[in-house]
């Protein structure tokens, strides 16, 4: 199984698990170019959304 196949399989599994949209979001980012940086960027985006949210 290649990395891409693993991710596809994993995302399908997460789609069934509606409770964790962050997982799906990070995996989708990873799937785009199979890089740790893509996941880190997506996580940073999610965290900054929280920090910069208007009070």
């Amino acid at each position: 199984m290649t990395g891409k196949e693993l991710c596809s399989e994993f995302i399908k599994q997460l789609e069934r698990d509606a409770g964790k949209p962050l997982h799906k979001r990070i995996l989708c980012a990873y799937l785009k170019d199979i890089s740790v940086k893509a996941m880190e960027d997506e996580l940073s985006k999610a965290l900054l959304e929280v920090v910069n949210r208007a009070d």
């Binding site: 199984m1 290649t2 990395g3 891409k4 693993l6 991710c7 399989e9 994993f10 599994q13 964790k20 962050l22 997982h23 990070i26 995996l27 990873y30 199979i34 890089s35 740790v36 996941m39 880190e40 996580l43 940073s44 999610a46 965290l47 900054l48 929280v50 920090v51 910069n52 949210r53 009070d55």
Partner: protein, 736 residues
């Protein structure tokens, strides 16, 4: 795809060109140690993969292996290369790799340069066609995590391993953005301060134990109620606490240390003002200003015109006599008055334009004055409170100097610095406004002089320069002011007994930040959870492969290698161990063993070295036979190290069976007796046999040897001819 021939020059032990042809079924090499037989394996491995597993696995000593591919005796101006011909039936392809500097290489397929080999793709995860003695140790006699990596590589599951590595790296090495780190540190800092206060320790405990924000703030409000002593509506708690704190603090020291930075709007306006002031006096303005000198004449024209307007009007009412004295006015005089009136009216029209210019200059001066005032006021307002500290510095010293001496020194210097800059700014402002007034008076009095306007220009530039310096002084003083303000706040809380109140105020003011921090924690926990899920998924996949196909494949070969003298301690399968909670342990593979039906802790600690070596060989063979490998050959380098004689004999059987199952084998060994036994046992295969008879600077001396002695070969042919069950292919092979 089978290997037909190999040519090597300048690579590893090979200096001068050598060419080796392989039998389609079995090729055997014998060479004493250090005669260069492993260089044959390495040349093939490097050609196919661009590296040798020995170099790749030596991450810790990369320096020692640097440039180790190139033979040191090979001429500097030549390019080391490895060429091999592979075939599949009638199809044939030639692969050639040239070794370049820094271990780079160039690939050529049938003479044409290519970036990758045709069998390379995303799916090239199949087991490699090499069984290398040094690699066997990496499979078994290593810690479970390293074994896991080696297995993943062996089983062609490196992609899966890489994905897992990515998630481990992501979950463990991720660095939060600075804004996120700041917020987390701020919130953690607040609760760390609370932890140090007896009455608030419970609040900190609740926060650290992961309780909800509501639970934490219920405890905060309970603590607030204790301080306020009366029942207060929830919305009034914070204002009441602030008021309580300020009252108590002001009783100790009433003046705040406050120096704000210029707002963005103020900074922008200041920049525009400075440009306006420095460019106010232009040549054009000077020209317009000097033209106003003619205004005195213009006034005279206006007065004259008004005089004649009145004269003409009165003349119309009392024609023929002067309206003032009654003396007669003759026609000539009346005509003269009318002519003068006409001329004065025309002069008045021409002067209107000049008059308008005067109004414009006056408006510009008025506007300049307003902007000077406004600009100066911004600086004054911003620093008023801060400079008001000056008379109280001695009192402030009494409060701060003991515990916060550097903060006091900083704010004292800052006050003096800003005060000095303010003095210079005020002086420049005074000079500039006086210069504006002087110009206005000169226009008013029609006494325009170029020197007056030029002086205004110089004074405006002077003001702009001081205003700029002032903003720099303010900016430079803000850190000291902020630091002293914090120190003062702390000191006042200590002296006024409001430390707990201060923490409560901070907690109430920052509830939103605490909520955000909790959400950040939740997100980061989800990342760990994601890593765990990936680990489980990968481990499950690995378990499927190793506990199913691989275990049965390896057991099949392992059972064949057992000998009569083997005592009952044996390998019984591969597994992924589990944690106490029943989850699969991440990145871990165990090798199980049994003794008389009872499980042993591990095959690694229970099996003899000989048996472990045999198991390693069976593992490599099993995985290679199971994998969807694009290569029909298998290179086995020095397989019988540490095998006892009986295991050696069993292994010969295994090699023969591999050939009969269709594998093309290339076997290299340092053990001449075993090699001869292998050849004898496989005499009917009539393979290729090479001996490396020597080694010198030119490289190994590879000599072809007959598979069997002539008489033995004739006997074999004779036996086949007499065997009614033998087929023509067997005969052809024996005769080849």
């Amino acid at each position: 795809m089978r290997i037909r021939s190999l040519s090597v020059e300048g690579f590893r032990g090979f200096n001068e060109h050598r060419e080796i042809h392989f039998d389609d079924r079995l090729t055997v090499f014998y060479a004493p140690n250090s005669y260069g037989k492993t260089s044959i394996t390495e040349a093939l491995e490097w050609l196919l993969y661009g590296y040798t597993s020995k170099v790749k696995s030596a991450e810790y000593s990369k320096e020692e292996y640097k440039d180790s591919y190139r033979n040191v005796h090979f001429p500097d101006d030549s390019v080391p290369c490895v060429t091999a011909v592979f075939g599949n039936g009638t199809e044939e392809m030639t692969l050639r790799s040239e070794l370049l500097a820094d271990d780079r290489y160039k690939h050529y397929l049938d003479g044409k340069e290519v970036a990758v080999w045709p069998f390379e793709s995303d799916d090239l995860s199949a087991s490699k066609p090499f069984i290398l003695q040094h690699a066997l140790k990496n499979l078994l006699l290593v810690k479970p995590s390293d074994r896991y990596q080696a297995f993943a590589l062996l089983l062609g599951l490196d992609d899966l391993g890489r994905v897992q590595d990515d998630f481990v790296s992501f979950a463990t090495r991720y660095r939060q953005p600075a804004e996120v780190e700041r917020l987390c540190a701020e919130v953690d800092g607040m609760f760390a301060t609370a932890e140090g206060k007896v009455m608030l320790a419970n609040v900190s405990k609740l926060y650290k134990s992961g309780k909800s924000v509501d639970d934490v703030y219920a405890a905060v409000l309970a603590a607030c109620a204790t301080h306020l002593k009366t029942d207060v509506e929830q919305g009034d708690v914070l204002p009441r606490l602030i008021s309580l704190r300020n009252e108590k603090a002001e009783a100790v020291f009433a003046k705040p240390i406050k120096l704000d930075a210029y707002s963005d709007q103020q900074t922008k306006q200041h920049k525009v003002d400075i440009e306006y002031f420095t460019a106010f006096v232009t040549e054009e303005l000077l020209g317009q200003y000097l033209e106003l000198a003619a205004l005195a004449t213009v006034n005279h024209i206006h007065e004259r015109a008004r005089f004649f307007d009145l004269g003409v009007e009165l003349l119309g009412k009392s024609a023929g006599s002067c309206p003032l004295c009654g003396r007669p006015v003759d026609d000539t005089l009346a005509e003269h008055i009318r002519t003068c009136h006409k001329e004065a009216s025309e002069d008045r029209k021409e002067s209107a334009q000049l008059d308008q210019r005067r109004t414009q200059v006056q408006q510009s001066l008025s506007s300049l004055k307003q902007r000077l005032d406004a600009n100066h006021l911004v600086h004054v307002s911003l620093t008023r409170d801060f400079l008001a500290l000056k008379p109280s510095l001695e009192q402030l010293r009494g409060i701060l100097a003991e515990v916060h001496a550097s903060e006091f020194q900083g704010v004292e210097d800052a006050v003096n610095h800003v005060d000095q800059a303010k003095g210079q700014l005020d002086k420049a402002y005074q000079t500039a406004t006086e210069a504006v007034d002087a110009v206005m008076v000169s226009v008013e009095q029609s006494k325009e002089e170029s020197s007056v306007l030029k002086q205004l220009g110089e004074d405006l530039v002077g003001y702009a320069s001081q205003a700029k310096s002032f903003t720099v002084a303010v900016a430079a003083s803000i850190p000291a002011a902020t630091s002293a303000a914090n120190a003062l706040r702390q000191e006042l809380d200590v002296r006024a007994g409001t430390e707990d109140v201060a923490v409560l105020i901070q907690l109430l003011e920052n509830r939103k930040k605490v909520e955000k921090k909790k959400e950040i924690d939740r997100i980061l926990a989800e990342v760990k959870d994601l890593r765990r899920t990936v680990d489980q998924l990968v481990s499950t996949r690995i378990l499927e492969v190793i506990a199913g196909e691989l275990t049965s494949g390896v057991l099949g070969w392992y059972d064949q290698i057992k000998t009569s003298c083997d005592h009952e301690v044996h390998f019984c399968g591969f597994d992924v161990p589990r944690t106490k909670t029943g989850e699969l342990k991440a990145r871990c593979i165990s090798i199980n063993a049994v003794s008389y039906g009872k499980s042993l802790p591990s095959a690694v600690s229970s099996l003899s070295e000989s048996k472990l070596n045999a198991l390693g060989l069976c593992l490599c063979i099993g995985s290679n036979m199971n994998a969807d490998c694009p290569f029909g050959f298998l290179i086995i380098d020095d397989p019988i190290q540490s095998l006892d004689v009986e295991h050696e004999a069993q292994f010969v059987e295994i090699l023969r069976e591999l050939v009969e199952q269709g594998k093309q084998l290339v076997v290299l060994s340092h053990n001449k007796g075993w090699v001869e036994r292998l050849v004898r046992h496989c005499s009917s295969l009539n393979g290729a046999y090479y001996e490396i008879t020597g080694y010198d600077k030119t490289g190994p001396h590879v000599k072809w040897q007959p598979w069997e002695k002539t008489q033995a070969r004739l006997d074999t042919i004779d036996a086949i001819v007499k065997d009614n069950d033998a087929d023509s292919a067997q005969l052809a092979r024996a005769e080849a």
